[in-house]
Amino acid sequence: MAVPKEKLSWMYETMYRIRRFEERLLEETAKGNAMGVAHTSDGEEAGPTGICAHLTDTDWISSTHRGHGHCIAKGLDTKGMMAEIFGRATGLCKGKGGSMHIADFSKGMLGANAIVGAGIPLAVGAAFTAKYKQTGGVAVAFFGDGATNQGVFHESVNLASVFKLPVIFACENNHYAQSTSVEYAVPVKDIADRATSYAIPGVVVDGMDALAVYEAAGEAIARARAGEGPTLLEMKTYRYHGHFHADIPHTYRHQEEEDIWRAKDPIPHFEKTVGEQGLMEDAEFKAIRDAIETEIEEAVQFAIDSPMPDPSELYTDVYVNYSNPLQGLR
């Protein structure tokens, strides 16, 4: 599949933006600036990038506790994201959601979800809307290998197949659910094999290769837009860090394994492939990286400089309309 030039530079930029966002966030979390629990996705950048390259703001995605990469690939503002994780009023969710609940409905991002599996049916619902209203839009559910052991995953895929909905089930198989390996928890060889039970295509793709994901996702999304129903797309990938910022992964996985995956790093891999084909120059890569460095620094500074939410925000947004707000009985 020939990839338009501007898509190539967008993909590189997006992967690098995710990478630097996650790395800087870990630093800020260690300093105590970012609040809460940070689940980072560095190492897994190629998946959301290759998929979201096909989407527009009128397509939808749902996400997980490990959602920063999905958000960035869907075009969410890194300032608003960082501020959200810093618990600031200027965050995309006014500081009320945090790292595990970033959303931007104006960008077709249905929200990160901290209940494993809970975002999957939301994408099915968004696909239902797209079909109902004939918008031509598609929805992508991002979820992990571990999430495919939840009942709601199976119910959602079955439902989408029965209804022939325009949805892509995008499984980021990073080989672990917390400390539990996919070999222990998933009895089939590939998670894509689970598609068989629901009579939809199940496709395995190298999740460290943005161009491979781009191609596989392109087919799945074209099928979905053509009314041919859902696809289960499994991306084999790896999270470089622990399950969350304070987790030490070496208690359950070996350094050698990490080294093997780091050697397949999606960013240099992309530079090499695209560079060898003469599609982008080193100088272009560098210019993108420099711009991203500045952007992420600005995002961190923006978050630090932003105000905390006004206390009154505790009580807003629970309902659209409610007659008796019960603002705590004190």
Partner: protein
Amino acid sequence: MTTASRNPLGPGTEVPGREERYRDAFQRTLRDELNRDENVYIIGEDVAGGPGREDQGIIDSWGGPFAATKGLIQDFGARRIVDTPISEAGFLGAAIGSALTGLRPVVDLMYFDFIGVAFDQIVSNASKSRYMFGGQTKIPLTMFARSGGGTGHAAQHSSNFYSILAHLPGIKVVVPSDPYSVRGLLAAAIRDDDPVMVCNHKKLINLTGFVPDEEYTIELGKGRLTRVGTDVTLVGMSWTTEVCNNAADRLKEEGISAEVVDLLSLSPLDEEIFLNSVAKTNKVVIVDEDSPRASMASEVAAVIAEKAFDSLDAPIKRVTGPHTPVPYSRDLENLFLPDEEDVIATTKKLLGA
């Protein structure tokens, strides 16, 4: 030895014991119960961690969130410390099935909010099987989870909706408030023949307190007094007992004598202990971290209104979280949580002090 004010057995009781963290008392109790009864087993996600990699020298990597079960697999093996895929409805349902057929499962549901994923198994199977089947069977199931706010985990990891479980006939609910009570209540829960939910508030898990050396259980359905006083009754549960104790100590400095009732069990509910206290103090402030509507605070208030109306000198007061999910941003989260200041202010207002 402990100071009188911190002695969980109440003023005047002196027994040999040790200072121990809540999490350590919890784990020591799990060990004791695993040793005591071969049918007890523990099941949940990452309760050991790194499962299936024994041949690679990995036998215990996580031990559950907050290391609740860390190290157990080394002593009890993978037959009794069972790591699961992420399938709460499946493994809780399977645990209930194993309880119906002779085992005594202890299920780690991780964060309290995840009860939602498995809720049908609690509502439709655990709570009703014995009754529907005319008492033919029992369900010796223990569930535990980390509840509450205050740690920046945001809306989907900070809930405290234990009133929903206490509402269900057939389910028992306990809310330990210190290392002493978690040891006694967990042991009682595991030995009990009914389904029991044990709520471990995240803010309690690293607290240290006095635990007697001798083996003991705390009867399910019995509360206790953690402060004795005459001017007002403060009712606490789980973390809010700590809040009430601290408030009572500060009120004392200002000459106000507050009695603190620690509920310990939400179902069965020890009505007598707070009714007796209110009969003495004639005023009551109920402190619950949960949202107020249809909450445990409401339930306790209803019992007092119904059964102790005549001893009340002032309206029943509830100090609760607001009718909102738990927010992420630290200041908002702190505002959500009822704290000492809230309890002190409400109490003083009530007393006209």
